[in-house]
């Protein structure tokens, strides 16, 4: 195709597609990421959309965005500031102006910059001037009118024609990044094989955008990002919710069990239920319950009956499930509860990310009610930690709470697909058929786990329930028995630490600052820490995935650093937890509760200030 006027090779670049919720920005971003991944770039994506399906058109509240960070080297975050912003309306400029890199490129649909839309977005006359963007590379393209013109001969409704304007914009971006159109064209052929007209219209709009960008030559520099140097293997793009669902499927196969998922739809966790509901081919029984409580209670019933039991939810749903999690603790049944965290409390910020459910996960139940709590750190490692959660639940006979978050759930990254033969076998703790009478609360000495006697097995008939019991399963209110059982349930969870991996700091094992984080903020922390290391600072990272119990060597890792800086998207819940578990250390904090992830600078600035003060 055409000759590029000026080509700049870049290590990495951030692109943000932004428009009305109905403008198809999520699809545009996804198609762009898939094309970049197929090209061999490493990347991370971050969809950012309003809670309302169709918020008022043209308003800042209704802006839906999709950010892609791609690079030649390892990419761990969707990026803080964008090199390129595609803005379908003035509101998209309003929502993103402060997140564009100085001198970056802004492509916008001038046809949508009507007086009405400009005022609706909160500007007076000229967004570019009012945001002081004149030094930027501004491309005001008449996107709407051009798709109308290009597709005027097609027998499509005017509405359907306008709907292709996102593809025109995508075509422009493909030119800018020197990408092939083939993947996207194939996608339309497949997606609209029943309406070839629509497929054709989208393909024409895409090509028209590409050629328009070539023609105007205003789109310079053209960015070139070489493929990333990544390990050999088969790759795919995956988001956190799908990876979580697939991790459970892998665990079920390795345990020789069927999956039962009882859940109630809730943003941003619904994707897990949807993905498992689609997996009837692998025998999944998915149960869309009447409420959150029924979600976990049906799952707990299925666990009693011998299935791998899952329930997925987000913060408000976790609150509703509390009593039933307590029942799972008391009956010592295996079940995994996934909490895809979002901004809270209450309904809070349903589509935004936060890490503020930690205390709820650890302690949000009546009585002494310990559960295993683990957290995923990237979209793709949700697979691994879902597998781990199921393994621990089945081998230790306990509920396990898996924490992910909105950012992980919706974010995607390329993932080297594992081979099932490389994953460990899971050994559920079945009761011995000859062990009659079966004593439900008899434990193995090593793990203190009880055995799982599946209804239908002759001779193992037994009763369990929420009332305190003796070892034999008899209801008991004897004071000493209760205390003994409380302690043994606690010790059972503590002993999970015997088989979880040690905490390994990234970077030198000693130094000035140990940045500490947990779960989904990993990508930002590791990027910040690596940049600090490159700049010559003695800073390392300790990223936690196992929260309860903590790895056994925490103290040994912490004591080799002068300062410990705990960074999390809440007011300091993990820092407080560490203060309780490891009182011998002093903890500094970086906290953010804006419904958005950290920026690299949030972490770096604090570290640099601390280093200066040392």
């Amino acid at each position: 195709m055409g000759k590029k006027s000026q080509v700049i090779e870049r290590e990495e670049v951030v692109i943000r597609f932004s428009g009305d919720s109905g403008d198809g920005m999520q699809l545009t971003g996804t198609l762009f990421s898939d094309t970049a991944a197929l090209f061999g770039n490493d990347l991370t994506t971050f969809p950012d959309y309003p809670a309302e399906i169709r918020a008022p058109q043209g308003t800042v509240g209704g802006v839906s965005g999709f950010q892609v960070h791609l690079g030649h080297s390892e990419i761990n975050t969707p990026g803080d500031f964008s090199d390129v912003l595609v803005a379908m309306n003035p509101a998209a400029i309003k929502a993103n102006a402060k997140w564009i890199k100085k001198g970056g490129t802004i492509i916008y649909d001038i046809d949508n910059f009507t007086e009405k839309n400009i005022i609706k977005a909160g500007y007076e006359k000229d967004p570019v001037q009012e945001e002081k963007l004149s030094g930027y590379n501004i491309i005001a393209a008449p996107i709407s009118s051009m798709v109308k013109e290009t597709l005027k001969d097609m027998s499509l409704e005017p509405k359907s024609i306008l709907r292709t304007k996102n593809m025109f914009a995508l075509g422009m971006v493909y030119w800018l990044f020197d990408r092939e159109l083939k993947y996207t064209e194939d996608y339309f052929d497949k997606k609209f094989h029943k309406s070839p007209d629509v497929a054709e219209a989208n393909k024409i709009a895409l090509r028209a955008g590409y050629y328009y960008a070539e023609t105007i030559e205003a789109l310079s520099p053209v960015y070139k990002i070489l493929p990333a140097m990544i390990a050999k293997g088969t790759y795919r793009n995956i988001n956190g919710n799908t990876a979580t669902a697939w991790g459970f499927l892998a665990a079920a196969e390795k345990a020789g069990l069927k999956i039962f998922i009882g859940s109630y739809p809730i943003t941003p966790a619904t994707g897990i239920l949807e993905e498992l509901a689609a997996r009837k081919d692998l025998g999944v029984k998915s149960f869309q319950a009447e409420d959150e409580i029924a979600g976990i209670c049906t799952s707990l019933g299925a666990s009693f009956a011998g299935n791998l039991a899952i329930t997925s939810t987000s913060g408000p749903g976790l609150a509703l499930k509390s009593e039933a999690i307590g029942l799972a603790v008391m009956t010592e049944l295996p079940i995994v509860i996934v909490d895809v965290q979002r901004g809270g409390p209450s309904t809070g910020l349903p589509t935004k990310t936060e890490q503020a459910d930690l205390m709820q996960a650890l302690y949000g139940r009546n009585g002494e009610s310990p559960v295993v709590v683990i957290a995923s750190s990237t979209p793709s490692d949700c697979f691994h930690f879902a597998f781990e959660a199921a393994r621990i639940a089945l081998e230790h006979m306990t509920p396990v709470l898996l924490l992910t978050d909105s950012y992980l759930a919706n974010g995607t990254e390329p993932w080297k697909v594992p081979d099932m033969k490389d994953l460990p076998k899971i050994n559920p703790r079945y009761a011995d058929k000859n062990e009659t009478p079966f004593l439900p609360y008899k434990r193995d000495e090593e793990k203190l786990a009880r055995s799982w006697a599946i209804p239908g097995t002759p001779g193992l008939e037994h009763r369990i329930g929420g009332l305190e019991k003796t070892d034999k399963g008899t209801v008991s209110y004897v004071p000493e028995n209760h205390e003994k059982m409380v302690k043994v349930r606690d010790e059972k969870i503590a002993r999970v630490a015997n088989e979880i991996p040690d905490l390994v700091p990234q970077g030198p094992v000693s130094g000035d600052i140990l940045v500490v984080g947990w779960g989904g903020s990993y990508g930002y922390l590791v990027t910040a820490v690596r940049e600090l290391q490159t700049e010559g600072h003695k800073v390392s990272l300790a990223a936690f995935n196992y929260i309860n119990p903590l790895p056994r060597n925490v103290k040994d890792v912490f004591r080799r650093f002068k300062k410990i800086l705990v960074c999390e998207l809440n007011l300091g819940q993990f820092a407080d937890y560490l203060r309780m578990k490891h009182q011998e250390f002093t903890y500094d904090q970086v906290n953010k509760v804006q419904g958005i992830p950290f920026t690299i600078n949030d972490i770096k600035d604090k570290c640099i200030k601390m280093l200066e003060d040392m």
């Binding site: 081919d281 692998l282 409420d291 209670c297 329930g465």
Partner: protein, 340 residues
Amino acid sequence: MEEVTVNKYIPKDFKSDQEVRWCPGCGDHAILSSVQKAMTELGIPKEKFAFISGIGCSSRFPYYMDTYGFHGIHGRASAIASGVKVANPELSVWQMTGDGDALAIGGNHFIHVIRRNIDINIILFNNEIYGLTKGQYSPTSAKGLVTKTSPYGTVEEPFSVGELVIGAKGKFFARTIDTNIALSTQIYIEAAKHKGTSVIEALQNCVIFNDGIHDTIADKEVRDDRTVILKHGQPMIFGKGNDKGLILDGLKLKVVKLGEKGVSENDLLIHDSHEENPGIHYMLANMKYPDYPVALGVIRAVPWQTYEQLVKEQIEAVQKNSKIKNVNDLLMSGSTWKVE
């Protein structure tokens, strides 16, 4: 279902080693006996029974059965039982619940299990009072009932269990009285054989907090005249000496005396529990003394597809057509690329 006769049980085989802790004289003892008796006649191996409960006096039931049992949390037994049955459709699943457990805190789960028609048997002990918390009014307490939380009488309309079951698209509803062991046993057997959610309202006497609440109709002296035991295919006849019956008069049921005004047994309604249209079942379930006799027996038993059967069929159909046979197939499905 074909009966298997290899398992010869006696009621004692279903008694667990736990001491029964209900109050002396409580109606629950009679219900336990009836259930244990019914179990012996079902031809189902003991290990296939699962008794699930919520919270309340009735919910202690699983502890007294030598079967698989799960004593859950307040109101959630329908959900737990649904999970048990869907996970393992081979089990005979029984939910033991009360008027508070099923209709107040558990109302949502109760209507939805019925709507889904999952094959579980729900025995709802209705004593119109909260017993375990010592005497507060329940969703079935008569309007005006004076209790500890309604010292001046309740101002709430009570639920009628049958009305609620039918409203939730229920396919099986029966009513019995705790002390009538023969009738109860027979109903529990019919409920077990019915495929789908079976709800049995057991009018139960709380000897401490609501003693005698059902006496008006349950007392030996009067019960023949104040209740009608419905049998599928039989005329709706009742009374001492079978001297009364039910007919349809316009849009309403009407009690008639046989022999009066030329009314004979041939004029009476014939009970059809299999009728899909719930109209007559609804009127029968709602009959109240003194205008009508209270209906006992199986009022509604309509054959219908069960949830778990549909799930099984759907899984089999999808598996037949899908290329994904295991997790490796799934991992490699869709868009992937190779890095050499």
